[in-house]
Amino acid sequence: MKYLSLVVANLKRHKLRSILTIASVALALFLFASLRSVTTTMAAAAQFGGARRLVTLNATGLVFPLPLAYGNRIKALPGVTGLSWANWFGGRYGDGKNFFANFAVDAQSYLDIYPEIILPADQKQAFLQDRTGAVIGERLVSQFGWKLGQDVTLQGTIFQGDWTFKIDGIYHPTDPAIGDNVLIFHHDYFDERIGRAGIAGWYIVQIDDPAHAPTVAKAIDDMFRNSSSPTKTGTEREFQASFATMWGNVSFLMSTIGLAVVFAILLVTANAMMMSARERTGEIAVLKTVGFSDGLLFALVMVEAGALALTGAAIGLGAAKILYPAINFNGAGFLPGFKVATSTLVIGALVAIGLMLASGLVPALRAARLPVIQALRKVE
């Protein structure tokens, strides 16, 4: 411990240089953490999905609806314990610049099947009894300044006209992948206004045992194979994962850029750290003369490099960890549940240790091996 003041004194000698080094390491790791979190958040969203929930879609494609009449037939299948349905609405609020998801759901069964949607009991009651009511995610409150009890008018893009809903409840999702920027309203009201077309965009099927998922999925698809609208049923997780793959290789791009960023900044930083260590040849020779051992000098130089790298890493990673939740970041709605994962912090810390070794090892070894006489001769 008594050598600590020596290390601190060394770091303080070129204050600006130390600060700049720490700052550039911090920036590198902040960027790294941010970019990697995009990848991990997308991967986490793809992992979402209750093991007991299946999703049934029209086999022709996402944009084609299914007859509402399929509901009762699916419900009658063995292994099915619950059923709900929903339809994409695609309404626009105001100038439409702030996109958010909104869909019509069969309210009672939808809230039953998604216990992840937390809604106060009185609000839930109000919503269930109000045919033209809607429930919104808590982010929409801050995004648009909506209040409980307020009337909100959406413009239909697919289903024309102005649709006015009364906000009966504000929910909080326990699973970030469910999204806190969604508006849901009654499917029955929706169906009535579009002239009882009797359509559902997709069905959510609850089953008794996750192990039965393949059998039930096959039973549903077989039942409608030769009908006008064949279905495609999969687990909710597969459904979510298909959305994640729609990004294409965005996550690959992000990780490549992340690596390039870290590598670039670390190169420059390691170089600067090595150069500043080289200036001290004379000093190290003096320390050796007064009796510092080779091993001790090696350790001192390494500790100094480590102090710079680790302080920078702590600032950069800490900033990422604190900043994103503080500004409630969700990538303009594209990255719900954006989170800096622990694995990212661990990898970031390892990168910092790598930097310490890369920038400290050469000067530290040189310091340890420095022949005193030669070094002192160089000084004067």
């Binding site: 494609g61 944009v63 413009q155 600067a272 500043s276």
Partner: protein
């Protein structure tokens, strides 16, 4: 003035340190160019999709073809409109189109599904859209279950070769041709006859109607006439503007990312460069002392060190350009969330982007070198020489 040769020699004197700094700057520049090339390629693909001579008609309020729907009656009203150009055969150049998304499995990983656009067109579409060229095979025959596949799809999806059979919407479709569309988003689509697509998808309804203007300058007039027509409720857009607007959301995200990421990177790299130059100057203090003693003015020392820093950065800039060149033309794909369809596009590294990259490098070098150079210029001769 201190000869540049002095700086060049000093740089060469410490090859490792110079190489590391230049490499760092190079990587920053490469990422910068790469990200702009991505945004550029995406916007270019969609901007080229539409033509200024064409008008696309959607149902009023629909913000994409997907959410639109127009009946046959509207198609005939528009075909009879006096603003519509007529083809060589005397028929109006109008293409009422069916636009749907179909799930297709990708070649390299069949568990990955992409939503591909299937567009049902009229025979006039090949003339309405002047940038379409059939590269191989014959146009689908009217009345048959045949499709033409965009060139960007052929490598990424199985069963898209000529003569092969694609299965979608519960039917088999024979691929009879491949087409290119000057790099536009149409190349990521499957085209078939609208009359064939209507019954298997959404029934008797078109999603959009595209027509060629007789006189490209008369767009506003045509738009007003169509939108005022009491028999229908439609929005008319210039085709070029419509597709450009479809690219806005993702294009903005990509450009924003490019600027954000490189800004943070650049600051980090500049900090590193400052440190490197400070260290370089500290170890060369006696040299600088000698220069000052010889009678060089302090400002020439400042300029000399700035030039040295810029020189290293320019080497880095060239390296960055070199690194980014192989990106040019690489095809990548993502979902355009405005239309919900997958679109393939290539990185476009243009000379302009390379130039911006180089300028960016010089700026980093000058900014990074300024304060260290200032310190060099202000050195006290006596102190420096000691």
């Amino acid at each position: 003035m201190i000869p540049i040769a002095y700086n060049v020699r000093s740089v060469v004197q410490r090859p490792v340190s110079t190489a590391l700094t230049a490499l760092g700057v190079g990587l920053v520049v490469a990422v910068f160019i790469g990200m702009l090339a991505l945004a550029n390629g995406f916007s270019a693909a969609l901007a080229k999709t539409g033509s200024k001579q064409n008008v696309i008609v959607l149902r009023k309020g629909a913000d994409s073809e997907l959410s639109s729907g127009l009946g046959r009656d509207i198609a005939s009203i528009i075909a009879a409109d006096p603003h519509v150009a007529t083809g060589a055969d005397g028929r109006p150049l109008v293409s009422p189109e069916v636009y749907v998304l179909i799930p297709l499995a990708k070649s390299f990983d069949t568990t990955q599904i992409a939503n591909v656009v299937a567009r049902g067109i009229s025979d006039q579409a090949w003339q309405v859209r002047s940038n379409i060229t059939i590269t191989e095979g014959q146009k689908p025959t009217s009345g048959r279950a045949e499709v033409c596949v965009g060139s960007r799809l052929t490598t990424r999806f199985p069963h898209t070769g000529i003569g092969q059979t694609l299965h979608f919407a519960g039917r088999d479709w024979t691929v009879t041709c491949h087409f290119t569309a000057a790099g536009s988003a149409f190349e990521s689509e499957i085209w078939g006859e609208n009359e064939q697509f209507m019954p298997v998808f959404r029934g008797e309804v078109f999603q959009s109607i595209t027509f060629r203007l007789k006189d490209p300058a008369s767009f506003t007039e045509a738009q007003r006439a169509l939108q005022a027509d009491k028999r229908m409720t439609v929005d008319a857009h210039r085709e070029a503007d419509f597709y450009a607007q479809q690219s806005q959301l993702l294009g903005r995200i990509l450009s924003f990312l490019a600027v954000m990421i490189t800004a943070i990177m650049a600051v980090g790299a500049v900090f590193g460069a400052i440190n490197t130059m400070y260290a370089a100057i500290a170890s060369r203090a006696p040299e600088i002392g000698v220069l000052l003693t010889l009678g060089f003015r302090p400002w020439t020392v400042l300029v000399s060190f700035l030039a040295e820093s810029a020189f290293i950065a320019v080497i880095g800039g060239f390296l960055g350009c070199l690194f980014s060149l192989p990106l040019n033309g690489i095809v990548t794909s993502t979902t355009n969330w405005s239309s919900f369809s997958e679109i393939a596009f290539s990185f476009r590294v243009t000379p302009f982007l390379l130039l911006i990259g180089l300028i960016f490098a010089v700026v980093m070098g000058v900014v990074g070198g300024f304060f260290p150079a200032l310190r060099a210029a202000r050195l006290q001769v006596v102190q420096a020489l000691r």
